[in-house]
């Protein structure tokens, strides 16, 4: 993905959710967006996904303009959005089924890749939150999107499950060279996963700072205890605290 992203979004009441964002994300890059709640990170993601239209500005993927949602951009939501009336297998096969056709055994292959083999004929509500999130990622992979858009996908999971899912996500990403845009409010998660961490400011949402994460890949969770990781974390937190302080002073 190459191209310029530039969005202004004053909605009906002229609340500017995100303002004048220029952003280029390379193909195969893993980008994390961090920022306080209400800073417009979800709005930005929804624009990329094509769910909402920016009021000004354009977004391009490989030179083509984004015009509505598409199968090239898979989305994983914060709260699980598997269709509850379909079994896990039907959910995973849904994307291919709606487009060209289901490849036999693909669902099972993805389930075992995600470590939840044997759950294909169950309904989503019969699975735990972590397993549902795995199934949702499997559904996204079944569609083979170039870009994965993830909106705080692990924030509802417990700490242990979350760590497992983070490593799993990195494995998947390293395998297939997809582009990932990952939203989180967890700085450590952002640094651990991404090539680049973008720190957003609140009201109006802008990208305040970019931190290049030069930690070696492949990574596992041990990297989070290294001094370099700590430096990056301090730097990121410093920007966020500064931003929060400014926001509070601005509010007075």
């Amino acid at each position: 993905m190459q191209g310029l992203t530039k969005i202004y979004d004053p909605d009906g009441e002229h609340v500017t959710a995100i303002e004048d964002i220029d952003l280029t994300i390379e193909a195969g890059e893993f980008v994390s967006l961090v920022g306080p709640s209400g800073c417009g990170k979800s709005t930005l993601l929804e624009c990329i996904a094509g769910f909402i239209e920016p009021s000004h500005g354009q977004m391009y993927i490989d030179g083509g303009r984004i015009d509505g949602p598409g199968a090239d951009r898979g989305v994983v939501f914060q709260e699980n959005r598997l269709l509850p009336w379909k079994t896990i297998r039907e959910n995973i096969d849904l994307g291919p089924k709606m487009r060209d056709g289901v490849e036999d055994g693909r669902a099972e292959e993805l389930l075992s890749k995600m470590g939840i083999e044997g759950t294909g004929s169950q309904y989503p509500t019969e699975l735990s939150g972590g397993m549902q999130q795995r199934a949702e990622i499997a559904r996204l992979l079944a569609n083979d999107p170039e870009i994965m858009l993830m909106d705080e996908p692990f924030s509802a999971l417990d700490a242990l499950t979350k760590e497992i899912m983070q490593e799993l996500l990195l494995d998947i990403w390293e395998e297939d060279n997809r582009t990932v845009v990952f939203i989180t409010h967890d700085v450590e998660e952002a640094i651990f996963l991404a090539d680049r961490v973008l720190i957003m400011t609140a009201g109006p949402g802008e990208i305040k700072e970019t931190i290049d994460v030069d930690l070696e890949r492949p990574r596992d969770l041990d990297v989070t205890t290294t001094p370099h990781f700590n430096e990056l974390r301090k730097e990121a937190l410093g920007h966020i605290v500064e931003e929060a302080r400014e926001a509070m002073e601005g509010g007075q």
Binding site: A71, G95, M98
Partner: protein, 281 residues
């Protein structure tokens, strides 16, 4: 151990010692409630409470019922239970089928599309508050036939609960499901097929359950007013002739048909919504 824990422990020990006392099996409890009801019925008739001495005892009713089941005509030279039942059933089935096949698509359309909601729905809103039974006179005149008139009343009675529930069900679809399917590359038709319709099935079933109940109310009231063979008609006719045996049998048969039809709807509903299994269990 905190105080809360120790209290909880004591409660659970107390509960388990209470549970240890053998309680009568469920069927015995249910059965005793039915027996009690029949006993009260019998006693009221025997004592002659108000006008109850004119009614039949449970035993007499059972006798009359078995007579009618074996094909005796209901009333002097009248039709059999089966003829009356057939007419009523056909009206209910036809009215209900028409209601289901029109109310569900219209409910989906009015729930999903702003155009339908703005331009079609208001007309329905105008008709909705009219009680189904109030349609009887105009329906009998307008359709120029008892059969079609009664079917119309059944239809209109069943239509609105199904329509309104379907529409409400569509309105409750969370936009995230729509987004999920759209970003998997789904078209508008896919949204209908994979989100709107399956999401709304439970609401359709709720609406149909209510609709079936109203259909029976509507058919009985319409038959009482219109005449002709039918369970509602014979029940009311027997009342005029003070043939209370037939009246009570009519009530019993109508009650049974109502119970059977709603259990069919519920079973069909369970079958159509396998994903809600663990909730109903």
């Amino acid at each position: 151990m905190s105080i809360v824990d120790s209290v909880e422990n004591q409660i659970s020990t107390a509960r388990s010692s209470v549970d240890a006392i053998p309680s009568p099996p469920r069927w015995a409890l249910k059965g005793s409630s039915v027996v009690l009801f029949i006993a009260i019925w019998w006693a009221l008739v025997k004592i002659g409470f108000l006008g109850f001495d004119l009614l039949r005892t449970p035993l007499e009713t059972a006798g009359a019922l078995s007579g009618f089941i074996s094909g005796e005509s209901m009333g002097q030279g009248g039709e059999s239970l089966y003829v009356h039942g057939y007419h009523t059933l056909i009206r209910v089935l036809l009215g209900l089928s028409l209601a289901i096949t029109t109310a569900i698509p219209l409910g989906l359309a009015c729930g999903w599309s702003d155009w339908w909601r703005s331009y079609v729905y208001p007309a329905f809103e105008l008709l909705r508050p009219i009680p189904p039974v109030a349609w009887v006179p105009i329906a009998l005149i307008a359709f120029a036939s008892e059969f079609l008139g009664i079917v119309w009343v059944v239809f209109i009675g069943a239509f609105f609960p199904i329509f309104v529930n379907t529409m409400e069900g569509v309105a409750q679809i969370e936009p995230e499901y729509v987004r999920a399917v759209r970003s998997l590359g789904g078209s508008k038709l896919d949204l209908y097929r994979h989100v709107v319709i399956p999401h709304t099935i439970p609401s359709m079933i709720t609406g149909t359950t209510v609709g079936v109940g109203i259909a029976w109310i509507a058919v009985v009231a319409a038959e009482m007013l219109s005449g002709g063979p039918g369970l509602g008609y014979i029940t009311f006719q027997a009342y005029r002739l003070m043939d209370t045996g037939v009246v009570i049998v009519g009530i019993v048969v109508l009650g049974t048909l109502g119970a059977v039809s709603s259990s069919i709807v519920m079973r069909t509903g369970d079958h159509l919504t396998p994903w809600t299994d663990e909730v109903t269990e």
